[in-house]
């Protein structure tokens, strides 16, 4: 597959660079850079949302998890889609109507508090740096398995190429590149399924073997308590995910946002089913891999025909790049727009802010490499941890804050801090007893955040009507 893969990667990177350069000529202001001039339509928007959702966690981690544990992990998708629906009906239209550039913009405006805005900015930077660790670790796994490349080299190449197109064109280039990436992911994953099924000798043959390896592979490897906990983590974090919400701001209007979420769920159904099938079929073909994270790259490199295999590897690379790009845009904007532009240089020029944003992206891209090289856990586990923290500190201020006008700044600040700390403390103390009590850190985090938000809001002075008018009709 060597030459085919090199050609496929060369074509892909050339197209990505072309789009980035084209976008750079259309990026003049901070609004262009962070929100693509609010010009994105429903189909491209839907593909973009799918691309930001589908990450290394999906093509490496989820596929590996299906390889290791079978079908039951798939039910977590229902949590993801429930999160998207909450976002479509209760979050996205209001945020788009507000028309901010970043999520801390919303927090600051809704609660009338610069402290809440700064806190949101800092928490975004910390939690998404953890998310980048998973993406970089996955890129190292793929590069090592497929190209025999050192993980550090692969991570540096990934950072350089992703940072380049993020720096050049901001959200405009990202949106068109991610549209392309979603099409590659959907086609690469969907085409690979019949090829693997043909090798495995059909569905009946494959299921017979899987059942004999471990009967839980086709049944309940995870129990309902665990699945609910994971589904809740993903659902709550998706409903309030800053890097998804930033993409709502780049779309034309509220209607476009709702349509885009529908399109995105359609793409995710195809990708989710394909990843499930590929994980199980790879287990049939290679029943005892040393690491489940290797399943996707080994399948692409050792099983698929050259062009399909190369397409799938490009799809994996693009999934990682699209997520890294989205995360860098969000964290860069948090540093430049929400922290630097508000607290360090409030009167900075547009040019100055775009430059600080670009510099932040570069710095924030390099830090996670160190942690990724330590391989602290497997890719999917890191993603799960990060979603728990996002849900614990953001779900309540965003989703409840947008739909309950009595929420106050003090309520939001205590809710974010309390949710984050409760999740952290439970993760290191109470989580070990999950099998007996069935209470996950995300449930503790979100529960604490919710209680603090209601209690502290009730005890403190309501937010001024001027701040609430844009989010509430009456």
């Amino acid at each position: 597959m060597g030459p085919t893969l090199v050609i496929a990667l060369a074509i892909y990177f050339t197209i990505v660079l072309g789009i980035a350069i084209w976008s750079a000529f259309h990026t003049k202001t901070e609004e262009d850079f962070i929100a693509a001039g609010r010009s994105i339509g429903p189909f491209v928007g839907g593909a973009v949302l799918a691309a930001t959702q589908i990450s290394a966690g999906t093509v490496v981690g989820t596929l590996g998890r299906h390889y290791l544990t079978g079908v039951s992990w798939w039910y977590i998708w229902f949590g993801v889609w429930a999160g998207w629906l909450v976002s479509a009906f209760f979050v996205a239209p209001k945020l788009r109507r507000f028309g901010a550039l970043t999520v801390p913009d919303y927090v600051g405006a809704r609660f009338g508090s610069e402290t809440a805005r700064a806190l949101a900015g800092v928490l975004i930077v910390v939690s998404y740096t953890i998310y980048l660790v998973a993406q970089f670790q996955a890129s190292g796994e793929i590069a090592q398995a497929v190209l025999g490349m050192r993980p550090l080299t692969a991570m540096l190449v990934l950072v350089a190429s992703t940072a380049l197109y993020t720096l050049l064109g901001g959200v405009r280039s990202s949106s068109y590149i991610e549209f392309l990436q979603t099409l590659i992911m959907v086609s690469g994953l969907a085409i690979a399924v019949p090829v693997l099924l043909n090798h495995a000798g059909g569905i009946r043959q494959a299921t017979d073997f899987l059942r004999s390896l471990d009967s839980r592979l086709l049944g309940w490897y995870y129990g309902p308590k665990e699945l609910v906990a994971f589904g809740v983590s993903f659902g709550l974090s998706i409903a309030a995910a800053p890097y998804e919400m930033t993409r709502f701001y780049s779309m034309r209007d509220e209607r476009t946002v709702k349509q885009a979420i529908g399109v995105s769920i359609g793409f995710q159904v195809v990708i989710g089913l394909s990843v499930l099938a590929l994980g199980l079929l790879t287990r049939v073909l290679f029943p005892n891999l040393a690491s489940a994270d290797q399943a996707s790259s080994i399948m692409a490199f050792e099983v698929l025909p050259p062009i399909v295999g190369a397409l799938l590897i490009v799809a994996m690379v693009s999934a990682i790049m699209s997520t890294v790009n989205s995360v860098l845009l969000v964290t860069g904007a948090s540093v430049a727009h929400d922290l630097y532009g508000r607290f360090v240089r409030p009167h900075a020029s547009q040019f100055h802010l775009v430059m600080v944003n670009r510099l932040s992206i570069l710095v924030l891209a390099i830090i996670p490499i160190y942690f990724a090289l330590q391989k602290l856990s497997d890719v999917q586990a890191i993603v799960v941890e990060q979603t728990k923290f996002i849900a614990s500190f953001f779900f309540v201020p965003v989703v409840i804050g947008l739909n309950w006008r009595r929420g106050t700044a003090a309520g939001a600040i205590t809710s974010m801090c309390g949710g984050f700390l409760a999740c952290l403390v439970w993760e290191f103390t109470g989580q070990s007893g999950f099998a007996s009590h069935g209470i996950d850190a995300v449930e503790v985090g979100v529960g604490t955040s919710l209680v603090l938000f209601f209690v502290v809001s009730k005890l403190t002075k309501p937010v001024a009507d001027a701040n609430l008018r844009i989010f509430f009709k009456n």
Partner: protein
């Protein structure tokens, strides 16, 4: 953190080398599989995929004695783990019936893609067989012998056969090319239509 989530495979012992020789004839495939395994346990279990329309007869296991367990989807062979450096585990068996896929015993111990060497040789493959349809990736060594060097042990070998029609592999590769060309054409046509509409509005 979440110990049940973290891959439990990482601490297991390893297969350091595996050599599988398959000799094909019209009605039977004779297989000899040799493994160098680093293992602390007293016994070693191998799993053979059990394919439909196929019978597997294990003729020898070293070191023995071995016990066997048959299920609908697989045959499990448990044998004492080889003791002492350089002592391999060896399985000999015959496969009858449908010989398109030949099962390979996969130890319940993983291979290390960086340190293990896996070699699979198939003797008796027609010189006209299309190797691209085989699994794992095969290359012709000499006349009727084809060889695969996968990084991990597969559960079976898909024997390449002489076929004239379009295979699934070729079909899927062609489909990717057609899909890419069609989407590029669609994008160009749509872009032209949008540009034409924009110029009419102006």
């Amino acid at each position: 953190m979440l110990p049940f989530l973290v891959g439990a495979l990482s601490t297991l012992p390893q297969v350091t080398a595996a050599t599988v020789d398959v000799t094909l004839s019209s009605s039977v495939a004779k297989v000899e599989a040799t493994y160098a395994v680093r293992v602390q346990a007293d016994s070693l279990t191998f799993v053979l995929i059990r394919l439909r329309d196929q019978e597997i007869h294990v003729t020898a296991v070293r070191p023995g004695p071995a016990s066997m367990h048959h299920t609908t989807g697989s045959v499990r062979v448990s044998a004492p783990a080889p003791r002492g450096p350089g002592l391999p585990a060896v399985l000999r068996y015959e496969v009858r019936g449908n010989l398109q896929r030949i099962p390979i015993p996969v130890p319940r111990v993983p291979t290390d893609p960086d340190a293990s060497e896996v070699v699979i040789r198939v003797h008796g493959v027609s010189p006209d067989a299309r190797l691209t349809d085989g699994f794992p990736r095969l290359s012709r060594s000499d006349g009727e012998v084809v060889t695969a060097r996968p990084a991990n042990l597969p559960s079976f070998i898909r024997v390449p056969v002489v076929e004239t029609g379009l295979s699934v592999n070729r079909l899927s590769d062609s489909f990717v090319i057609v899909l890419m060309l069609a989407s590029s054409m669609f994008w160009l046509v749509r872009r032209r239509a949008l540009q034409a509409a924009a110029s009419r509005v102006r």
